[in-house]
Subunit: 350 residues, 2 copies
């Protein structure tokens, strides 16, 4: 795919460029509700005073955004009335108010703006935020729902990781865990993707998984089953984490008591600025914080990683799952995220 076809939009002192791109996944990826082997994204660039910030929107199809909807949203964005990228709060409030939802499209602007600001200040964003990159927890690596043979193959390929994220939510749950436990005793976390419908069965599985050294349960039941999720959280021997049930900052206070913690993803919450507020709010409410991702290039992954020193669990393997990343940024070595000491989100084009 050519990357020379940027749409360019001049807006006063700012220039926005964007281009659809299709990520090719190394393995077919299966979770409780679907399988796929590509992910559509839109890459962005935001230029001000000769400095360019990079951004990205990633649109797994089940979340309702597409390359078309993102491009359509970006066509609406006009930063011409803003004099400076340092009017961050107002710029991002304006972008957020342009339309409901469209959170990945908004994140594509937010990430590019943060990269631009970091480059103007000549510092990585984790430094601007005062965070120590050496305190990022080990990132998990995701094993999708698959056959026994493929699971064994994927786990053996994942030898560097200190924690594996296992997709559950189907009748094959125990088979998958038993298969993994036949080849490794590395800690696991379980992402059920709303796959369990009955709270008593969910609790039984929670106890069984705790015995299998599973650290926590992500979105065990449908997000609409608030009372059931709260009941499970109150009784479960391991923490529960809201993913589908937690999109934005305004959701967090409502989730106190329903889940032990939240999974923050830039594509759900409109980007780095709101993600940081969600992490700090959850901390103030004594909730756990997980930082996740979609299938993304090193652009959005490196953006999220700037925040990773603040969280309990990192799940930042999105760029490792694709074969055609076009940026280099945060790298994973022995399961540990290493942030580049470069300004902004710290990426360069491959």
């Amino acid at each position: 795919m050519s990357l020379s076809n940027w749409e360019t939009k001049k807006m006063g002192k700012f220039t926005l460029r964007y281009q659809p791109y299709t990520l090719e996944m190394k393995h077919v990826f299966t979770v409780a509700s679907f399988s796929r082997n590509t992910t559509p994204v839109v890459l962005t660039e935001l230029e001000y005073d000769g400095i360019i910030g990079y951004g990205e929107a990633s649109m797994p199809p089940y979340l309702g955004e597409s390359q078309e909807s993102v491009v359509s949203f970006l066509k609406q964005v006009d930063l011409g009335s803003f004099n400076s990228p340092f009017q961050t709060e107002e710029i991002l409030s304006y972008v957020d108010a342009l339309a409901k939802k469209n959170t990945a499209a908004k994140a594509a602007v937010d990430i590019a703006l943060h990269d631009l600001l970091g480059k103007i200040m000549n510092q990585p964003f984790y430094k601007i935020w005062g965070l120590n990159p050496d305190s990022i927890p080990p990132t998990s690596y995701t094993i999708g729902i698959d056959t026994e043979e493929m699971i064994r193959k994927k786990v053996s390929e994942a030898g560097q990781f200190k924690i594996l994220k296992i997709k559950l939510g189907l009748a094959t749950d125990k088979m998958i865990i038993n298969t993994i436990r036949s080849v490794t005793d590395v800690p696991l976390c379980a992402d059920v993707n709303q796959g369990w419908k009955n709270k008593e069965e969910a609790l039984e599985m929670a106890y069984w998984l705790a015995e299998q050294n599973v650290a926590f349960l992500e979105q065990p039941m449908p997000k609409e089953q608030i009372d059931d999720n709260a009941w499970l959280t109150a009784h479960s021997p391991i923490p529960t984490i809201a993913d589908e049930g937690c999109q934005r900052l305004s959701d967090v206070t409502k989730l106190q008591g329903v889940y032990t913690g939240i999974n923050i993803k830039l594509m759900k919450c409109t980007g780095m600025r709101e993600a940081k507020r969600m992490a700090e709010l959850a901390r103030s409410l004594d909730m756990k914080v997980m930082l996740g991702c979609m299938t993304e290039t090193s652009c959005a992954i490196s953006a999220a990683s700037q925040l990773a020193p603040l969280v309990d669990w990192a799940d930042l393997d999105g760029a490792l799952l694709i074969g055609n990343d076009i940026y280099s940024g945060m790298i994973v070595t022995d399961g540990i995220c290493k942030l580049p000491n470069r300004p902004g989100i710290g990426i360069i084009k491959n």
Copy 2:
């Protein structure tokens, strides 16, 4: 007073300097519990790589800190194990853990560190935080408890202000408000400093004050009377704001329902970093935010002002009340705070 007697402390790559200084107040200042005409402060400087950040601790005597306690605290601080001022989170966590309370002493380090960081990044902190300085609410100006004649004199001197803060809490409350209303109809806010003890009388006063165009009540009753403050908040026609009842970030969630909002002061909450978190947390909890100060030089006032675009009410007159400010920074013009476009907290020595 000479300002050439800095104590100097080398700590690895950092150098900390500090010096006690006594602020002389233009007017004798009376609130519900005491009168005074000076305020002790300690000025600080934090140097790294040839760049110097300025800080300040201000110690109104009733809060329990003194020049001696601040100097004693600063003697304990050793940043020798930190390689970079960008390890902000860890540096300030270390400083906070050195001793309980001592919040002004901790703020003196926090402010100097933020000023230093802003100078390294060559940007004012309000820009680093992405805030628009044009959206700061008008600052109030404080009229202490006094005779009718002095109150008239002070109000006439305060002609530029769009809102006046009136100290109440004694038997003279209605006399003071009536005196002010005989000379001006500018909006007021009432700071009771825990002066009212009876909730029914407090509610009666709240209704009377609302009719006198008083915008809100600060700390109407003793902070220990939690149920009474909550009852008043539920029944009052105007918002209630916690001041003595709200010190730090960990207090904020507990004050939901007890007060309508909180008054954040750097000297209570250990400085700029925690103050910003408190403002954002209060917002997420749908609480109002006021930003206040002690009697301070333009150093601590300019530090607090960086945050002021985030708040509902600003009360940043502390440097206007003194006759021997040694810095220039944020200035008040026609009752509006104007932030200098200088790096860090934006101050220069006079």
